[in-house]
Structures are given as structure tokens and as C-alpha cells.
């Protein structure tokens, strides 16, 4: 079993390294670099459009206070100290994937297994596990409603209730669920949003690859 796990780890790491290499264009001739550049441009263009439709105010998001999860395992995972509330940058990680979802949202329900898979992928690679944490924010949901979603889809990462639509304050547009925000910790107590995605992930591996690319780029 351990061997299978190790193999999987190696495979995932190899996948990332390959994606880095193709993006950096290491050991490639001029034509290949150009080709990669144009393919990259083509792939990136729609993503930029996606990002443009969502404006996130990192400062506002940084200062929102959410109720801390009651579950001890969740608290430990996020690295939170005791206290009834917490702010997102207090989460002990370099990158935080924030899934804004709702228990009532059918797209979020359909995407739940994919987000679980994303979490599993992250847990499998130690370097990712220690640096990336996922937290779900149930917008307009009570703790009870969030717990129904968590139980139904066996969600192993923490889900936070946001009954008062606090997270809406950080967005200029109406929230559409699911929305994924990736925050990067810049200094203690502050983070900035480096990546946004509106709509379902659909493919956990692709999303993670994209995320790793962003986290290693200068804009990340």
C-alpha cells in the first residue's frame, strides 16, 4: 500500500515538474519556445477574461472575521489558535484555496467530489500539503446547513458558515457559486488574491497544475 502511495506521489510530482519545464521552456530551441509561448497565450487568454469578471478586494477579505470551525481536526488543519473567530490570513499556509459555495447550489454539489479529489491530491504531496490549505465558505449558509453538505459529500477539509454573506463585501459583483479564490500569504496577517475562478473546477489535476503555475509565476 505504501509503495502504491509512493508511486502516486512520484507520478504527481513528475507531472508538476513536466508542466514547469514546458512553461519555462527549459532545454528547448527557439521555435519550441515560441510555440509554447503562443499555446500558453491561447490557454491563458480565456483565464484572464475569467479573472477580469471577478474583482476581489484582498484587503477587505483579509479583515473579515469568520466563526472558527468547532471541529478540532479542522482547527488543527488550518493551524488556528483557540478563539471563537478567525481571519483567513491566520490560516497556516502559503496558499489558501477558498471555495465559496452553498449547500443549496447544485453546481457546488456536483463539483464536491472534484474538490475532494483536489484536496486528496494536495495531501498526497508533502510539499503541497504543507503549503496549500483548502477552506470552504458556505455563503448564506448556517453552520447546520454547512454540516449537511459536509456530511453528504464526505468533505474532509473545513467548511465555514457565512450566514451573513460577509464574503460578498470583498467582491464587487454578486457572488456566483462555486467561486474559487486563491490567496497567497505575503506577510504575516496579510494575503493577496492571486487566482480566481468562477464555476466548477471539473478537473482537479488541471486546476492544481494551473495553481502551481500561478504560485511560481512573478504575478503569484
Amino acid at each position: 500500500m505504501a509503495q502504491v502511495k509512493r508511486c502516486l506521489n512520484q507520478w504527481v510530482v513528475k507531472l508538476f515538474l513536466e508542466s514547469y519545464e514546458s512553461l519555462i521552456g527549459a532545454n528547448m530551441n527557439k521555435a519550441n519556445v515560441l510555440m509554447v509561448f503562443f499555446i500558453g497565450l491561447m490557454l491563458l487568454a480565456p483565464e484572464l477574461v475569467t479573472s477580469q469578471e471577478l474583482t476581489v478586494n484582498s484587503n477587505v477579505l483579509t479583515n473579515l472575521k469568520f466563526d472558527a470551525p468547532e471541529n478540532l481536526a479542522d482547527k488543527k488543519y488550518l493551524g488556528l489558535h483557540d478563539g471563537p473567530t478567525f481571519k483567513l490570513p491566520q490560516i497556516r499556509a502559503k496558499f489558501i484555496i477558498i471555495e465559496i459555495f452553498s449547500m443549496y447550489c447544485p453546481i457546488c454539489q456536483r463539483d464536491a467530489p472534484v474538490v475532494n479529489e483536489l484536496h486528496d491530491l494536495i495531501l498526497k504531496v508533502p510539499s503541497l500539503r504543507d503549503n496549500i490549505k483548502i477552506v470552504g465558505i458556505g455563503v448564506g449558509n448556517t453552520p447546520y446547513e454547512v454540516s449537511v453538505f459536509k456530511k453528504k459529500f464526505n468533505v474532509s477539509f473545513p467548511l465555514i458558515a457565512d450566514d451573513n454573506f460577509l464574503v460578498q463585501k470583498a467582491l464587487t459583483e454578486n457572488i456566483r457559486t462555486p467561486t474559487f479564490l486563491v490567496g497567497k500569504l505575503v506577510v504575516d496577517g496579510k494575503f493577496k488574491i492571486v487566482f480566481t475562478k468562477v464555476g466548477a473546477i471539473k478537473n482537479a489535476g488541471e486546476f492544481l497544475k494551473e495553481l502551481v503555475t500561478v504560485s511560481n509565476s512573478p504575478r503569484g
Partner: protein
Amino acid sequence: MRKIHSVVVVMSFIGLWQLLALSLSWGASVPADSSIYDPGKLKAIDSSTKLKAGDIAPDFSLPTLSGGPITLSQYLNKKNVVLSFVPAAWTPVCSQQWPGYNIAKDLFDKYDAQLIGISVDNIPTLHAWTKEMGDLWFPVASDFWPHGAVAKKYGILRSNGVSERALFVIDKKGVIRYVDVHDINSMPKLENLIKELKKL
């Protein structure tokens, strides 16, 4: 000539690339709830029901999505019933309320309750709309014709012909135990409904 030719080739490549980028961007930037119509903020409640806890629930029979009609009295002495009236298909809150109940079947089962969804939309509209929600475990009834007759019977037909967002909990004896004519703009909290089921 060759120069023009290469310019044309380059231009068509750029055109193709832009077309591809645009088509992909439509795919990528489609809002999570793209088919949903936003009616804006509405008057919270636009009717006044005389029904209250303790009253006998008015009986009705309505066609359902699965074909056959559903009659309230068929559940007499068998199951508790929750009627969930929603105002209209393809609107923001309504499009999420039933999917929420759809993942809470265990809770309805726990309290021996049958959920019935009702809207004044016609069957084809309800068919297309609920298909987006995934497979619903509960029947969806159409109160389309005579238009909103059941909603009217329950005193929750709004002046523009849609029903309120309302929940009625009816016990096995056919007695109404809980009425929540909710602000049309917001979602009733699931735990409030479950709390009422627990009391039965």
C-alpha cells in the same frame, strides 16, 4: 504578392486565435448560474394567508413531473407532508432551495415526512428547470392550470400570479402544524424546518 499572401496567412492565424480564445472564454466565463433570471429585490410578501397551525390543510390534486397526479389526502394516516411552494422557475433563490432539500433526504426520512415541491410553472418548464438540479427524490407538482389555484387556496398567490416562497408542515392527520410564508428574496433556514419536523 507573396508579401500580401503572408500577411493574409498571419492575419487569418490571428483571427483564428482570437476566435478560439473568445469561444473558450465564453466557455470559461459562463456564470455559475448562467440560465438564472435575476428579478431584483421583490416585495417580501404580497399576500395574506388565513391558514395557521391547527387548521386542516386544504386538499388538492395536481399533475406532477413524473406523470401521475399527486393528491394531498393520499398521505393521510401514512406520512407527514412538507409542501414547499416556490415562486418561479429559473429565478435565483428558487433554483437553489430544492437542490438543498435534495441532499437532505435523510432528514426528511428521519421524521417520516414526504416533501412535495409546488410551483405555478407548467410541466415542460418544470421539467427543463429541475433537470438542472440533478435527480430530485421528491415529487414536483405543477399548479399551472387553473392558474395558481392551489396557491390561492392556501392564500399565498401573489398579485403577479406567482406564489410566495412558503412552507407548510402537515401531520399525518392532515393538520397544518407550521406555516412559513417567507420573504420571497431569501432562503428559509433548513434547521427551522427540521426543528418543526422534530416536533411532530
